[in-house]
Amino acid sequence: MVDLIKRAKELLESSAVKVVIGYEQGTGNKTRALFAEKAEDADKLIFDSRCVQNLAAYITKKEVKEKGKMAVAATLPVMRSIIQLAAEFQVNDNNLLVLGITPESKLIEFANLIEVETFVHQYQIEIDVRNKEMLDKLEKMTQSERWKFWTDELAPCFKCYACRAACPMCYCSRCTVDFNQPQWIPVASTELGNLEWHMMRAIHLTGRCIDCDACYNACPLSIPINLLTKKMLTDAKEHFGGYQPSLKGDHLMSTYKPDDKENFIQ
């Protein structure tokens, strides 16, 4: 990604930004986040198909914010996250510059978040085929088959909260699980505690999740928790015509339509 490196160097030399967040070569075949603060660091920048970690998770991180204005090498999911974060007043043009990477791996720099939004809105959020099939499979199950599926899948979860840490939208300083008056979600990893934790997370991400799979990729036990948010995503589409992260902040779950349709309220 030559032009990315070039641009990163310029930005750092001119100290237009204090840090450029991108990807570097990691252990073995892994790639990982790079925080280039000096021009020479930028040489380590890479970009290829392996670079899937959602870097937006770093934007709200105290240690990173303190460095000053940042530039982020942002793939489509990252850009979506950024727009949602902006809609929730977590970032703005003063502290963030977006170095967009198009699905065709072209570098495209945006003057401001409005441009980013316009770009992002050209693409619909689409759930990949494999997961679509998985969703259909679950839909076809009986309720108690689904119950078994989820209790089994979630039982191994030991609540390391990697899913939360890796999710750009989980930037809350106090997560509901950390709230203990009352203790909504059991702290201990138990079948119930795990179930409630992931249920709560799915609800809190409804209308905000942009389907980047960061949670699933982060899970050391590969628990398919992203199916929950994907389900919410599809249902949001079905019931309310779906959503796009948008600077207007017309958030799916904090707004309503008087003619919202349902078929279960007597």
Partner: protein
């Protein structure tokens, strides 16, 4: 550990008949933190309240649970009692053992167990109650009265006479409402206009009353003491300041064949018109739907003849915004039209008319100048039939209720007919004669005995035309259901009184509830007949249910007193049941992350952004802040907040969580 007092009320036998109150009290006595538990016959009685007060003082209670009726009934009573004993009123909770338990379940173990559970739920909740102090909000001492019928007029005058400002809005060009259409009024037979008109004039001239006719409520925001209303003044196409009400325009207007609303379609009016001679204000409006100029783009006769040049064809609707402290709704009612009754001729027989139309025929100011002439050919009907309960008390027609006023006005109509057509014969078909009310029964007897009106007890199955006569066929149930057929010249239907068109929309604009018939719902059928569930909004007259004039006037004065009471104080104390965003010590300040999604969730725009700054004035973080003046305490934001940073006083996370825990666990 908390010291909670539990007070179980028998409510005479209302509760104790099905619930073992003693057992409930004993069980509660064993809960952690319960210092005192007792059952008593009437907790709301003075001795009952004293029992609570003295227990608070002697046992030093820090929480009270009264297990009696619905908190919607007596919560204020018992909270006041606690306050008088020096306990913060919001440390008092009520378990609803009557409406939600004893009245709806049979006597037995299960019912008592439920009572115990409900008490336990509240005992555990009270442990998490906090002392709260009431919120003071300013009161705008201007009332809005919606509807200029007799109820609206009465309410306006009464409020205005207490020295407070009133804005009266009426959707028609003149105030007066249905009463102005009536000929005479029961039971005294004095002329409606004669007693109403002075009041109408008084309204127009009262220094404290601002009158907007031809105007409707556009929107309502805010809350008791602090409403903001938008009023749409529909264009009259007239400069009222210039208009002298000389009437040149109305006499010269070429469009003369428009059915007059005031005369219930029996008379005609012009396109620019004053609804009736005594109208207030006595100034015309142009009915744009029927005005040649607005239809064809030329005419302007009125403009030409107007001596003061008051006509304004290009005048537009005007929106006036007003700050209001209280609202009286007096939008009245309407009656079903004959086309609602296929069996009575779909309204295809011109001589089958409604009671209201008959009023116009009988009225000196009516189309026939008070002579009873039938619409079809203007002949004086020799045989006339009045049908009571046309639609009313008829579940099949979706109107199971009694319209209440018909029995009386039918008697009046028959009487007026007999007085005006001496050799005429009048018949009344009725189900029951409901003449409850001062001098009402006597009035009906007069109609039957002195004026010889024939009352037939029975219903009419159908009306059809046969050689110029209307055949009214029914049965006489007093003559063991013998069929009756009367060849009538005219039939008057006492059609059911129903809610106005658009009552539902208005209720929704005002955020008040309404019953299945779209009549506005009072806060309590007995004890709060003029209040609505929304504080600061009151009801008067037939918008709440069919009402006759005395009742409407009484309600109006009642509502007026409520408003005056509200205006008697400069500040209003509101329950502190509002949302609060937590604040913590540095470096946290608040667990709120400032996503401000709650802002869009709030129905009252009550959530603001607060910037927390350090000593040198730099913004450390932006967090949500609830404006206690605007917050109404719905808690929509509370359930929505991911970090649980917003909580609502009186229904906190801990309280609600504990209630659920307490219901389902042993304590």
């Amino acid at each position: 550990m908390s010291k909670i007092g539990v007070f179980v009320c028998h409510c005479g036998e209302n509760i104790s008949a099905t619930v073992d109150c003693a057992k409930v009290a004993e069980t509660a006595a064993n809960y952690d933190g319960v210092a005192f538990s007792v059952d008593y016959k009437y907790m709301c009685s003075d001795p009952g309240q004293n029992l609570i007060k003295s227990a608070i003082k002697e046992k030093g209670l820090d929480g009270v649970v009264v297990a009696s009726c619905s908190p919607r009934m007596h919560e204020p009573t018992f909270r006041k009692a606690c306050a008088e004993a020096g306990l913060n009123p919001f440390m008092c909770e009520m378990a609803n053992l009557r409406e939600h338990c004893s009245w709806v379940h049979e006597k037995g173990e299960a019912t008592t167990q439920k009572a115990i559970d409900l008490v336990r739920m509240l005992v555990e909740k009270v442990k998490y109650n906090h002392s709260l102090s009431e919120i003071k909000v300013p009161v705008t001492k201007t009332a809005l009265v919606i509807g200029g019928g007799i109820a609206g007029i009465q309410a306006s005058l009464d409020i205005a006479n207490t020295g407070h400002k009133v804005i009266l809005i009426e959707k028609d060009p003149s105030i007066g409402g249905h009463m102005s259409q009536l000929s005479e009024t029961f039971p005294t037979l004095d002329c409606s206009q004669c007693i109403l008109t002075p009041r109408m004039v008084e309204v127009a001239q009262h220094p404290n009353i601002t009158l907007y006719t031809y105007a409707e409520l556009e929107s309502l925001e805010g809350f008791i003491g602090n409403f903001k209303v938008k009023i749409r003044k529909k264009s009259k196409s007239l400069d009222e300041k210039l208009c002298t009400g000389c009437g040149m325009c109305t006499t010269k207007c070429p469009v003369k064949k428009i059915p007059s609303e005031f005369n219930e379609g029996l008379g005609k009016r012009t396109a620019i018109y004053v609804p009736f001679p005594q109208a207030v204000p006595n100034k015309p409006v142009i009915d744009r739907k029927n005005c040649t100029y607005y239809i064809k783009g030329k005419c302007k006769v009125c403009e030409i003849v107007c001596p003061t040049g008051a006509i304004r064809f290009d005048q537009e609707d005007e929106i006036v915004e007003k700050e209001i402290g209280a609202i009286v709704i007096a939008t009245g009612f309407t009656v079903k039209q004959p086309d609602f009754f296929p069996e009575y001729g779909y309204g295809k027989y011109a001589d089958v008319i409604t009671g209201l139309q008959f009023e116009r025929l009988a009225s000196a100011s009516g189309p026939t100048l008070g002579e009873i002439r039938r619409p079809s050919d203007g002949k004086v009907p020799q045989k006339i039939v009045f049908l009571a309960c046309a639609g009313s008390r008829d579940p099949a027609k979706g109107i199971p209720y009694c319209s209440k006023i018909c029995c009386m006005y039918i008697a009046k109509h028959a009487m007026l007919y007999q007085h005006k057509v001496h050799d005429g014969k009048s018949y009344v078909f009725y189900m029951d004669i409901r003449a409850g009310g001062k001098q009402y029964e006597e009035f009906v007897r007069r109609a039957i005995e002195d004026d010889g009106v024939n009352y037939v007890r029975g219903r009419v199955s159908k009306i059809y035309e046969k050689n110029g006569k209307l055949i009214v066929s029914g049965v006489d149930t007093l003559l063991n259901a013998m069929p009756v057929e009367i060849e009538a010249d005219m039939v008057v239907l006492a059609t059911a009184g129903v809610a106005n068109e658009g009552a539902e929309e208005l209720a929704q604009k005002l955020h008040i509830s309404y019953d299945p018939y779209k009549f506005f719902a009072e806060a309590h059928p007995k004890l709060k007949p003029v209040e609505t569930n929304t504080a600061g909004i009151f009801l008067a007259g037939a918008c709440q249910a069919p009402r006759d004039i005395p009742e409407s006037v009484a309600m109006a004065s009642g509502a007026a007193v409520k408003v005056a009471g509200l205006f008697s104080q400069d500040e209003l104390t509101r329950e502190p049941i509002i949302a609060v965003v937590n604040r913590q010590a540095a470096p946290v300040y608040s667990s709120c992350v400032g996503c401000f999604l709650c802002v869009s969730a709030c129905p009252y725009q009550a959530i603001e952004k607060e910037e927390i700054k350090n000593r040198s004035g730099e913004v450390i973080k932006s967090v949500a802040k609830v404006n206690p003046g605007l917050c109404q305490g719905c808690g929509t934001c509370v359930a929505f907040c991911r970090t649980k940073s917003i909580d609502i006083q009186g229904y906190t996370h801990e309280q609600m969580y504990t209630e659920v825990m307490a219901l389902l666990n042993e304590y």
